[in-house]
Amino acid sequence: MTAPDVSVVRRFSARSLDAAAFEWTKLRSARSNRWTLLISVLATLAITAVVAETSASAPAGRHQALDPLASSFLGFAEYAVLPVTVLGVLVFTSEYGSGLIRTTFAAVPRKRAVLAAKACVAGLAALTVGELLAFACFFLTQAILSRRHGGLSVTQPGVARAVLAAGLVLAACAVAGVAAGAIIRHTAGAIGAAITMVYLLAALCLLLPAPWGTRLGKFTMPFAAYQLVSRHGQAGLLSPALSLLVLLAWPAVGLLAAAIVLTRRDV
C-alpha cells in the first residue's frame, strides 16, 4: 500500500478522501444523529407554520412590522440552529468522551486532516439539511401568508439569496460547533462555548447602552445572519456581503485556533 511511486499530491488527496469517508461513515452511523435531525426538522417546520399563521391572522397594522422574509426563518433560528450546533460539537466531544479519538488519530495521524474532514462533513451535512429546510420554511410561510396578505415569490429580488443564506447559517453554526468541540473537548463546556458564539454574544450586545449594542452586535453571528435573511436589512448594520464575511469568519477563526491547539497538544 505504500508504493513509493505514489506522488505527494495523490497521497494528499487519497488521505483527505479517506478521512472524509471515515468521518461520514461515523456521522451517519451514530445513533442519535438521525433522530436529532429528524426531530429538529419537524419542530422547525411546525414552529414556522405557527409563526406564519400568527403573522397571517394578525391585524394589518401589526403585520407591517414583520419582514415576511425574515419571519420565514424564526422557527429556523430557534429550532434548527441549536441542535445542529450541538451536533457539530458532538462530532469531537463524543469521541473525546469515549476515548475513540485515539483510535481516530491512530487511523489518521494527521490531526489537521481529521479536523478538516470533520468540519467538511459536518458542514456539508448541515448545509444540505439547512438548504432543504430553509426552502421548505420559506415556501410553507409564503403559502400561509399568501392567503391573506400575499406572500413573496422566490423570484423576487433578494429573496433567493436570503433563502440560500439561511441554509448557509446552519453550516456555519455546525462548523463553529466542531471548532468549539475540538478546542474544549468536553461536551458541556464546548456546547456552552458554541452557544455563546452562535447566540449569546448577540444577546449580550443587546444589553449594552444604545449605540454600542449595534456597533458591536453587528459583528456577531446572529446579527450577520439576520442581515442575510431579511429582505431590506436593518439600518446601522453591515451590508449583506460584509455580513456573510462575518458569518463565515467566526467558524473559520475557530477552525484555525482548533488546528493550532490540536497539533500542539497530546491527545
Partner: protein, 407 residues
Amino acid sequence: MHAPIAKVLLVAAVAVVFAAFCVTDLVRGAPPRHLPRWAWVLIICVWIPWGGLGYLFFGRAGRPGASPETLAPVPAAMAAAPPTIVPPTIVPPTTRAPASIELDGLTKRYGRVIALDGLSVTIRPGAVTGFLGPNGAGKTTTMRLILGLDIPSAGTALVGGHRYQEIFRPLHEVGSLLDATAVDRGRTAWFHLLALARSNGISQRRVREVLELTGLETVANRRAGEFSLGMKQRLGIAAALLGDPGVLMLDEPVNGLDAEGVRWIRQLLASLAAEGRTVLVSSHLMSEMAMIADHLIIIGRGRLLADTPAADFVAGARRDVLVKSPGASELATLLMARGATVRPDGDGVAVAGLDAPDIGDLALAHGIAIHELVPRHASLEDAYLDLTSDSTDYHAKALPAGKATVP
C-alpha cells in the same frame, strides 16, 4: 380563526407523540444514565421536545431490555465460536519487509512527572514481545508515543524506520488496541469497523473477514454499548487486524477475557508472530505474559528493567536449595569453597550456585548429616516481583541472572 387552532393542535399532537415515544422507551428500556427514571420522565414531559431529545442523547441506556445483565446468552454464543485460529485466513500472501519498533531515548514528561525516562529498546519481528511493568510504569505512555498520539519530550519512536505520523495509511503497517472500551456506545460493531476501514482504504470484504476471525459476525449489527468487556476486546482486536498490519500493539488485551478468550488470544498472537509480524503486548500481570510472550521487556517508573527472552528470564530467576543440617556452619564453609553462595534462611541455609545432588554428595563425603534438602524455584511471577518491587534502586539493563541471585 379555525385554521390556526388546528395548526397549533397539530404541533401539540406531534410534540406529545414524541414525548410519549420517549417515555415509552424510557419505561421499557434499561435504567437510563445520569438520572433516575422519574427525573427523566419529568424532564421529557415538562420540556417538550428538548427534554425528549436530551434523553435520547444522554440518558438512553441502549435498546429496550438490552441491559448488560440480560446479555448473558451472547458470551455463550461467542464461546461457541471456534476458538482455534486458522492462520491462512489472516494473511493474504503479501511480501512484507519485517518492521520493528525502535525506541531511542524516549522520554515523556507531564509537568514535573516523568512518565518515561529515556527508554531505548527495539521490538523485533517474529516473536510475541511482552511489555511488562507495574501500573503507572509507562507502558501505555510508550504505546501512545509510538502511535504519535502524544508528543515525546525527547527521543524518537520509529516503526519500520519511520515516524508513525509519516506512514501513509498507517493501519496497513501498525494495528493497535489501546483501550477496548473506547467505542461509541451507539454505533454497531459493523459500522465501527467499516468507518475505520474507510479511513485507510480497506475493503468491506476485509471487515467481514476480521469479524469472522474474532467470532463477532453474529453480533456485528448490535450496538457496541451492549457488548461485554470480552466482546469489546475482540472488537478492538478486530480493528487492530483490519489493515493486516506487520506490527501489532495491544495494550492489556486479555483484560476481561475468560480462560477461553485468553487461549484464543495466545494462539492468535503466536500465529501472527510466526508469520513474521512484530507483536507487542502489554500487561501488568506476569502470569498472563508467562503464557503469551516469547520475549519480555520490563519497565518500571519509565525505565527499562529487563529486555530478555522469556525463557532466559525464568532460567535466570532466583533458584536455590534450602539445606537444614546440624553441621550447617561446617557445610557452609565447604560449599563456599566450591563457589556457592550461602545465606541463612530461617533455621537452615539457602544455597545458590550448587544443585541439590552436589550438596548431598559433598555432605556425605565429609560425613555431615543432612535433615532437609529442598530445591526451590522462584516462579516467573516471583522473579518479576523481585525485579519491580525494588523501587528504590532501578538498574537499567541489569539482567536477572546477575541480579536476582544477590539478595
